[in-house]
Symmetry: C2
Subunit: 193 residues, 2 copies
DNA sequence: TCCTTTCCTTACCATACGTTAAGCGGTTTC
DNA sequence: GAAACCGCTTAACGTATGGTAAGGAAAGGA
C-alpha cells in the first residue's frame, strides 16, 4: 500500500522503517475512479494527497467554462490546492482523476501532528513544498521568455512520463495554448527532424 | 533598523518582542546602491534577504542577453534565488537593486539555527515560502489562461505599489511581453475608458 | 454491435503580439 | 550646456497563436 511513497521518501532523505511506519499511520488511503473529483470548486480542500498510483490534474475554469490546467500529478507526486487547504476557504480550483488512482491523503490536523511527532516527516514534507515552488518558478520563467514551441519541448524533456499518458489537448492547456496550436507545433517539429 | 520587518511579522502572526529580538540577532544588515548586484549568475546564492527599504528584481538572461524578469520585491518582501540557495549551486539568475536599498540577510546556518531556536520564527519563515508559492501558482494561472492585457490589469490590481516605481519596460518583461506591446495595451485601455 | 463521445488533426481567416525603426522629452554625464 | 543615454511611445509590417469549422480515428457506453 505504501510502496511508491516509500520509494519517494528514500529518494529525498534517509528515514528509518520505524519513522516511516509511524508517519503512515497519519495517512488515509482513498481510491478514485477516472473522472472522479477529489476537489470541486466551492468545496474546501481538506487534504494534501500523495499519488500511489494513477494520474490527477489541478485546473480552474475561465469565465466561459474552459479548463485552464495548472498542473498534473502521477504516482510519486504530492498534490493539493494549497490556497484552499491552508486558508480553509472554498476552492476556486478543481482536482480530478485522469486515470483510476490510489491516493494517500493527509488532513490539516494529521499534518500538524506528524510534523510535530516525527521531525523526519516534517523535513520531508517541507522539502516537497520547496520542490513544488522551484518548479513553479521554472515554469514562470518559461512563460516569461519562451515560445509555445520551446515550452512544449521543455515539457517533453522535464516530464517524458507525463507525455506518455496525458491527452495532448490537456498538455496544450497546461502550456497555455489551444490544441490546434499544439498540433501545428508538433507537425512543424516532425517535418523539421 | 527592523521597523519594516517588525510590521511584516505582526501582519503574519503573534510574536513577542523578545522572540522578535532573538530572531533579529541572526540577521545581517546590508545596503545596496541602485544597479548593484546582490547575486550574479555563476555565484552561489548565500542569502535570503528581507527588504527593509528599496526595490530589487530577480531575473535571468536569455540566449541573446535579454532580461527575463521573474520577480520584483519592495520593502516588506523576502527574496532569494531558492534554486541556488538550497542546492548551494551556482545561480543561473541575477538579483540587483532598482533603487538604493536596505536589506536584512540570513544565511543557511543562521536559518537552521533560528528555526530550531525560535519556533515562531520557523512558522513565520515557512509562511513566507507558502505565500510565495501560492503567488507563483496564481501567476501561472494567469499565463495559462489570460491575455497580456488581462495580465497587465491583474498586475495593477495586485501590486499598485510596484506599478508606481518600476519602469514600464521592466513590467513588460515581467508580464512576458515587449515594451512596445505594453505601450499599445496601455493606449488601448486609456482610450476605452 | 451500433451509436455516441472523445481526441487529434487540418484548413481558413482573424488577431494579438513581436520586430524593426524612428522620434521625443527627461535625465545624466562630462 | 552640449552630448549621450534612457524610458516611453508610435508606426508599419511580419509572424505566432487563437477562433471557427469540419472530418476521421479511436475509445467508451448501451
Amino acid at each position: 500500500m505504501f510502496e511508491t511513497l516509500r520509494k519517494h521518501v528514500n529518494s529525498q532523505l534517509e528515514m528509518s522503517d520505524e519513522e516511516f511506519r509511524l508517519g503512515t499511520t497519519f495517512l488515509t488511503p482513498k481510491k478514485l475512479r477516472k473522472r472522479q473529483y477529489l476537489l470541486q470548486s466551492g468545496e474546501v480542500c481538506k487534504w494534501i494527497v500523495f499519488i500511489e498510483k494513477g494520474c490527477l490534474r489541478l485546473y480552474s475554469l475561465d469565465d466561459f467554462g474552459a479548463e485552464r490546467i495548472l498542473g498534473f500529478g502521477i504516482e510519486g507526486w504530492w498534490m493539493t490546492d494549497l490556497e484552499s487547504f491552508q486558508a480553509k476557504k472554498p476552492a476556486t480550483r478543481n482536482i480530478d482523476a485522469l486515470e483510476d488512482s490510489e491516493l494517500l491523503m493527509i488532513g490539516p490536523e494529521s499534518l500538524e501532528k506528524v510534523s510535530a511527532a516525527v521531525p523526519k516527516w516534517d523535513h520531508y514534507l517541507r522539502g516537497v513544498l520547496d520542490k513544488e515552488y522551484k518548479a513553479a518558478i521554472t515554469r514562470i520563467s518559461d512563460f516569461v521568455g519562451a515560445s509555445a514551441e520551446e515550452r512544449y519541448i521543455h515539457f517533453l524533456n522535464l516530464y517524458p512520463d507525463l507525455f506518455q499518458r496525458i491527452p495532448l489537448h490537456q498538455i496544450a492547456s497546461y502550456l497555455g495554448i489551444t490544441p490546434q496550436s499544439l498540433s501545428r507545433i508538433r507537425k512543424e517539429l516532425a517535418t523539421r527532424k
